[in-house]
């Protein structure tokens, strides 16, 4: 079963919503796919407790209010080939044919292994925020937020508003880096105000720089964390550790389609031109998948990609000017929040690196290269398909880039069996 669209947008976060709206406004027939049940991606994930932000509301209305965009929630792209994506939903699978594809698959959190990180109660920082927004019981629970990046403050504030007792926010970047970041924020007054507002929300919780969590402890669930502080180690008793070290672009779909990637840094990103065109004809990329830059940049990029994908290039120049300023913010982020060597090497010999296959660090030692180690231990061969351990290994300097394969996510065998026939795919008239 296959349905034809002019533009298919993968990912319904700020970039994808903007792309879908722009393409639809230009008259294209648009499908918008997302693995989540609701649009908004991570940052605009709806909360069971709090109303959406004005920006989120506007974006949803603009994109989905007019009924010109076919929104497919709980749908994941399993395979893609020239002109077609194979998506799987909870009950069915479908092929969507496109003239243009916009990849707005966003980013996931960088989760680095450390002793005790597999304990129930240890989650990503954005991870716990996502869980809380969707009803996870946090009222009165003691939460330590740790890791790196401005996301920590946003996550901590969000957790606080969902009822958590935020005991501390621990940023691994040293105070000098944070001061530098704060001083440059005057260039982006919107961001500065946001940071101040977040800080105000978290009045009671100390925000400490140059500190990181070394280990997590508990019998069957988290009971306390050990912190490497600036004046020595100390423990914090808590129920949750919300810990994230930044964001990793979700490039797998782009990689499968053969888009050229910038692999010069620890985490690959998709390369595009100023119109968000990738190296593959008809395929565009917008937002965090091009490199971590924040939601305002993502929104502008999505708009550019949507116009370009629908063949309407006139509005693009003005958008490109606004984008340049936003992208400089991304560079500032990267400069200030570099990861300290110590947080990348917290795992000891017994620490599980591949959570799916239960492979400890000790099991990966003594091989000629990472590929041999993975073959011997099956590290990376579980359901997460190496997304968690792969990013962690990349962050610790083990840069073995695995070829991405179909299925892009675990998929029902019936989905693969109904899959489309590339050889017989018609070219568009």
């Amino acid at each position: 079963m296959s349905t034809r669209y002019d533009v298919v947008v993968c990912g319904a976060g700020p970039a994808g919503l903007a792309a879908a709206a722009a393409a639809a406004a230009a008259g294209a027939r648009v499908a918008l796919i997302d693995a989540q049940a609701n649009p908004g991606g991570q940052i605009w994930r709806p909360s069971v407790l709090l109303p959406p932000t004005a920006a989120a509301r506007r974006a949803m209305t603009r994109t989905l209010g007019a009924g010109r965009v076919d929104f497919r929630p709980q749908a994941q792209v399993i395979a893609a080939g020239e002109g077609e994506v194979l998506i799987e939903s909870t009950q069915s699978a479908e092929r969507l044919r496109y003239c243009s594809l916009v990849i707005a698959t966003g980013a996931r959190e960088l989760l680095l292994p450390f002793p005790g990180w597999t304990l129930p109660g240890v989650t990503g920082a954005g991870g716990l925020q996502a869980l809380a927004k969707q009803g996870w019981p946090l009222a009165g629970r003691r939460v330590v937020v740790a890791g790196s990046g401005p996301l920590l403050l946003a996550a901590a504030a969000s957790l606080h508003r969902h009822g958590a007792r935020v005991l501390a926010v621990l940023e691994q970047a040293p105070p000098a880096a944070i001061r530098r970041f704060a001083s440059r924020l005057t260039l982006w007054p919107g961001q500065a105000l946001q940071a101040l507002a977040l800080r105000a929300t978290l009045r009671a919780a100390p925000y400490r720089c140059g500190e990181h969590v070394r280990s997590a402890h508990g019998a069957t669930q988290l009971e306390q964390v050990e912190v490497c502080g600036r004046r020595g180690s100390y423990a914090i008793r808590c129920d949750h550790l919300a810990i994230g070290y930044g964001l990793v672009p979700n490039i797998e779909l782009a990689q499968l389609l053969g888009c050229r990637l910038d692999e010069s840094r620890a985490h690959a990103r998709v390369i595009t031109d100023d119109c968000m065109r990738t190296s593959v004809r008809g395929v565009y990329a917008a937002g965090e998948v091009r490199g971590i830059g924040g939601w305002q940049a993502a929104r502008i990029e999505g708009e550019i990609a949507g116009h370009a994908a629908a063949g309407a290039l006139r509005p693009v120049a003005a958008l490109q000017r606004r984008l340049r300023l936003r992208r400089r913010f991304a560079q500032l982020l990267e400069d200030c929040f570099t990861l300290d060597e110590r947080v990348r090497t917290l795992a000891d010999a017994d620490t599980v690196i591949c959570r799916c296959e239960q492979v400890p660090l000790r099991a990966l030692a003594g091989y000629a290269d990472l590929r041999a180690a993975k073959l011997a231990t099956r590290c990376g061969m579980g359901p997460c398909q190496g997304r968690i351990c792969g990013a962690a290994l990349a962050a610790t300097g083990h840069l073995a880039r695995d070829r991405v394969r179909v299925p892009l996510f675990p998929a029902r065998l019936s989905t693969l069996a109904d899959s489309f026939d590339i050889a017989a795919a018609e070219t568009d008239a």
Partner: protein
């Protein structure tokens, strides 16, 4: 508005819009066990890590953190 469902045979109530993960968290901090028997629970909260896999209405391998809770669902953890 709330949603009523069952987790490991126990009745649970969550707000409309909550995920199955939230429902399970009300009943059990442990979602399952690793192959070596270590307790596990959601990590990434966004459907990437697969630590939250549960059997929902008889279908195994469903990610609880991205699955909206619906009335009458029967959820089984691997505990």
């Amino acid at each position: 508005m709330t949603v009523r469902l069952e987790v490991d045979g126990r009745a649970v109530e969550v707000p409309d819009g909550a995920t199955v993960a939230a429902a399970v968290a009300l009943v059990s901090p442990v979602f399952g066990r690793s192959s070596r028997g270590a307790p596990r629970a959601p990590l990434c909260g966004m459907g990437v890590c697969f630590e939250c896999r549960l059997t929902i209405d008889g279908v195994p391998g469903r990610r609880a953190c991205i699955e909206p809770a619906r009335a009458g669902m029967q959820v089984r953890t691997h505990e």
